[in-house]
Homo-oligomer: 312 residues x 2
């Protein structure tokens, strides 16, 4: 098993990535890692942090796609960038998963055009972990890849999210809820009204109905489905709570879980191979967690399970 | 100046309303109040709470519209309900404002069909107060009256919200932000993309650009504009934080402001007369605040200012 990591992406690259790799490699049975980046710089840091030489290989890249660059253009014009190389490795089977905290748009474009959607999936999606008040963990999706959606897209997100919750979050029968502005069927905007009956009829999920804003953190559902506009607003609002808590000097076990720095990034769900997009602010712990998540996505054969769910 | 109050609406009617009325009447220069409800019950409570007899008049109602009733049907079939009577008083000029914490749908329907939109306004809207981390107070709208919107609706919400922030919240030049999922112009879903240029060109507002989920509580804008689906999810999520804080035993001055029980309800903006919809869980303090808000809406002539902004 091999996982490729873009060592040049994210605000604290490459040092925090090197530390994350070191920490990951000290876990039980790590995969082999391919570290894509500036070779001299990486060699120096890997030596400095005493990362065992036989556990990784360096794939030299000579370009970097900046956070503000136009994704499609940058991918075309920078074939030697760490992101372009990573997608090349993944597409050709030289690695089994690719992780980057670099330009999110380029990661999405690469996933869609180089790795491609699983057959039958109209819109791959990205989700986020939701820390529930009772200690459990849910999944909210889409959180921004698809700002405008049709009901069928949301229905597919539900299936993808449900499989993710089952195999990665370890929830046997995930409860799927539709994010909505009323409790009963028939409530909501046109999209939510059209989505409800599809979710109700979807044989691959356990649909429990609508979930209102007030119930998102209260563990009413394990998988929360919405279009990427509302999902992104919820995600970023939730992220902001951690900073507010810090500044208010509030520390509780629950609100510490709103430190999204700790999470292992967000996988692109619905494409043919494991791709994980990290948050720009990721530090060592987040990179270690992203590597662990990639390993779990590979070992559980999550993507084969998704493909078989969408087989005609 | 006269304000009519539906004494039968809300989870704690009529006792908490009587207490709220008593507290309001002990403020400086209160308006006269018309209390609509079950006369014997009200008389008993008003005596019990020693509300001065010359400060109010009772308007007897014999029916109540339940929280779960179909709004349009209930308004038609129950002309002697407190809500129907309230709208009748307001429409005929026998009161200057109407407040109810009863059936929200009936309150919206009554506003639209009995009081009617201000000429030129396509969609009246409801907003909510947003407690900012720095102590200031913003306004988010729409929060659920309009689940599906066009760009022009959002543009009108911006003008209405801006006038409200100016005259009721006392913000001289309110900064108007578009709730969105990216910082730059051109980001967002189709609606947000279409709304941005309208807000930019709107001469009646001070538009400052997009506001992301992470910045909603950080006082980037005084008036936050979005369609009612996203707005309702944000509102209810924010409301839920207060309960979570209580259960986590977290008490800070800031998060105490998330106790939406304290606020004075949400006015219906864009109709011809002051209508305020209270939260079902309102208690005495909220009713007192709703009465104060109604008084301020009347004394600042907010609605005349709104009408003149939309005059062709």
């Amino acid at each position: 098993m091999n996982i490729a990591l873009d060592m040049m992406g994210g605000d604290f690259a490459p040092e925090e990535l090197v530390k994350g790799v070191r920490d990951y490699l000290s876990e039980k049975n790590p995969a082999q890692v391919s570290l894509i980046g500036d070779e001299p710089q990486l060699k120096k840091l890997l030596t400095q942090y005493q990362v065992p030489v036989n556990a990784y290989r360096i794939i030299a890249s000579t370009e970097v796609i900046g956070m503000q660059e136009h994704p499609l253009r940058a991918l075309k014009e920078k074939p030697n960038s760490s992101i372009a190389i990573g997608f090349g490795l993944l597409a050709s089977g030289k690695t089994d998963a690719f992780i980057s905290a670099g330009n999110t748009g380029a990661m999405l474009i690469g996933s869609l055009y180089t790795i491609k959607p699983i057959e039958g999936i109209q819109r791959p999606t990205i989700g986020t972990i939701v820390p529930m008040e009772n200690g459990s963990t849910g999944l909210l999706l889409d959180v921004g890849a698809n700002a405008d959606c049709k009901a069928e897209h949301l229905n597919q997100f539900a299936t993808l999210g449900s499989l993710y919750a089952q195999h990665i979050l370890g929830i046997e029968i995930p409860r799927v809820g539709l994010v909505n502005i009323g409790e009963e069927e028939g409530k909501g905007n046109v999209l939510a009204q059209a989505t409800y009956p599809l979710l109700k009829a979807n044989p691959d999920i356990h649909f429990i109905g609508n979930v209102e804003g007030r119930d998102i953190f209260l563990d009413h559902a394990d998988v929360l489905v919405c279009e990427g506009f509302t999902g992104n607003v919820i995600l970023k609002l939730a992220e902001s709570l951690h900073g507010i808590m810090e500044r208010q000097n509030v520390h509780t076990e629950y609100f510490d879980r709103f430190n999204f720095e700790d999470y292992g990034g967000t996988p692109v769900l619905g494409v043919n191979k494991p791709v994980i997009i990290g948050h720009g602010i990721s530090r060592a712990k987040a990179y270690k967690n992203m590597l662990l998540l990639a390993q779990k996505m590979i070992s559980t054969q999550l993507l084969a399970k998704m493909a078989s769910a969408f087989k005609a």
